[in-house]
Symmetry: C2
Subunit: 370 residues, 2 copies
């Protein structure tokens, strides 16, 4: 079995079958036209080595950080009454996908705290780099257990946490997290926050990007993968006020680790407001639709609330293996969750897609008569 969602190759493409992929969590609006229309620029740049310092690309990211702070602004301005600070090139590290940034960030620490369940690459990296791992379990509602996280970070050099978390979509509660951030800031411990899915949370101010200006302990990882629907482009980045951490990661990187397409994508897509607005309208409507429809399915015991573009469900009367096979027969791939630490064959994750696909999916589930 492959470890991730998105393996539509083994069962589908390589056998010439077209499948609907509910296993990987990509914005169904697809690659922004604003990028496609300028692909020629990338073709021109392709004949040159990229700037080994990626100065232009880093500046597109800096512009997007400023844009994000306002566009996806916090509803609680009082939390943010500290001096404005603009990030510079030395605050940004670029990666061949967020995967590279995560892996190299983890490699900087001897003892790490991980959340369970969460994206399995954090643990794989920690094991690869021979870190000692302290696990903090989500509570029974699949929310963060802040008291436990606090205990675990005391025994660690860094915490790796996602906002929102994959596979369930819970977010960090800033009020409850403040004590942890204050402690880490004082104790020189690091908090690596994977915000790969943050844009899907909308304008509710869920991101901790702005907090990086006040808290040097924060290191936020983002990507074009999910919200901008470009998993194939392989581009992610990390942001922190701690320039030493950036240096430490960059020293571990190979030269020219980001391709020339990423620069053009960042230039045109990141601040494409039409695309962003359409995406936010879509996710708000479809998240509600999917949550309410899934609650009506009688072999689903629990539908977990989500801020992301995916829904974790606990099954009854069936298991993820059986459901996977039945869905595949109907041309749909879902994500089994039994390889997430802390979950078992009772759990499965579904992506939220466009209305037509969501309806086909819900109808398929209803017709299974499990």
């Amino acid at each position: 079995m492959l470890e991730h969602g998105g393996d539509i190759y083994t069962e589908g493409l390589l056998k010439g079958k077209k499948l609907i992929d509910f296993s990987s969590n990509i914005n169904p609006l697809g690659v922004p036209e604003s990028f496609k229309n300028h692909i020629g620029e990338a073709l021109e740049n392709m004949e040159m080595y990229p700037d080994i310092k990626y100065r232009t690309l880093k500046n597109y990211i800096i512009e997007y950080i400023e844009f994000s702070k306002n566009y996806f602004r916090s509803s609680r301005e009082s939390d943010l009454n500290f001096e404005e600070q603009k990030m510079s090139e030395e605050n940004i590290v670029l990666g061949n996908g967020a995967a590279e940034v995560i892996d190299l960030a983890v490699s900087c620490f001897k003892r790490v705290s991980l959340i369970v369940p969460s994206f399995i690459e954090y643990e794989k990296s920690a094991l690869k780099w021979k870190c000692d791992i302290n696990y903090s379990l989500l509570d029974e509602n699949m929310s963060y257990n802040y008291d436990d996280i606090f205990l675990k970070i005391k025994e660690s050099d860094a915490l790796i946490i996602a906002n929102p978390n994959n596979p369930n979509g819970t977010i960090i509660d800033k009020d409850k997290f403040k004590e942890i951030m204050d402690y880490c800031e004082k104790s020189n411990k690091k908090i690596i926050i994977d915000e790969a899915f943050i844009e899907f949370t909308g304008k509710r101010g869920c991101s901790l990007l702005k907090e990086t200006e006040k808290y040097k302990c924060l290191f936020i990882i983002k990507a074009l993968t999910k919200f901008y629907a470009m998993p194939g482009i392989r581009f992610g980045y990390g942001v922190t006020s701690d320039k030493d951490l950036i240096k430490k990661i960059e020293e571990k990187q190979n030269p020219w680790n980001v391709n020339c397409f990423a620069e053009v994508a960042a230039k045109y897509s990141l601040k494409d407001e039409e695309y962003i607005n359409n995406s936010l309208n879509w996710i708000e409507t479809e998240r509600e639709f999917m949550l309410s429809e899934l609650k009506k399915i009688d072999f689903i015991e629990k539908v977990y609330d989500t801020y992301g573009n995916f829904v974790l469900c606990k099954l009854k009367k069936t298991n993820c293996d059986e459901l996977y096979k039945l869905c595949l027969k109907q041309g749909i791939v879902i994500r089994k969750c039994d390889n997430f630490k802390g979950l078992d064959k009772n759990y499965t994750r579904f992506a939220i897609k466009n209305r037509r696909h969501n309806e086909i999916f819900i109808e398929t589930l209803k017709d299974l008569n499990l």
Copy 2:
């Protein structure tokens, strides 16, 4: 100072100046039309995660290996009278540029032999992974010193060698190298051969790709970067009969390390015979032109023979810093060679470009009146 050629950003693009880049060694025929014409396929694939096993892409590489063995065939068939073996997916490892493959291959060994001077990334990787390094110097003609290499490999677990070598363009003499290969094969030592520039050697059968079928000790690294003029795409690969070495490297890699553009580029460009033939015609003509013209420049003491698309020169009456500045004033960037171990400020490297640029360059040099 930046460590590599190709930094036309610091002096050029970022200041709005257009420079002619004689510092990086890219085929001036540019990105093959066969790829550009099919860029739409990549844009479609971009919305999906790449196949985590890269099965289709690996098969394009396997086809190209077969094609190369015949197209760039050895003139001495007698060397190759061993049983034909076709490579399979387990014989290929893919990288985000050859840089990743080199780095991870080096990371597999405790003691490595390096050639001096050669591409500086080999040494940087060896230092990063804390390898013990044995250096073998090129002889006075900048050819490999096979006796010395033999001595050095005895004290090492692996030899890293380029074919042709950068910055001078010497190639491996198969007759003289045979003893080393036989010894490594018996003693379970590895030979990592960087053939990033091999296609520029033409149809003279310089590659050791076919020898990988007989010698499990060989690990050959190639890329689309140089001959196919795609440094921006970031795609390289390694080939060996030793499936265990492939596994060992892949275990160190992050998932989805190659972007979706590489697959389309490999599909259409690798066997684009029109492009290949035009490129071979160009390099044969222009290599001769540059070698003979450079020999007429009176501040060049020695022009080293080359099988690549670049020429190493030893200067007299000037040094590479002065020449760099003078050329830059005329809108031309050259590669200073004083950061190559074993070379100093007397050495500089020039790319071979198209006739128009080569003529401008030669005229510029003549007019310097040094």
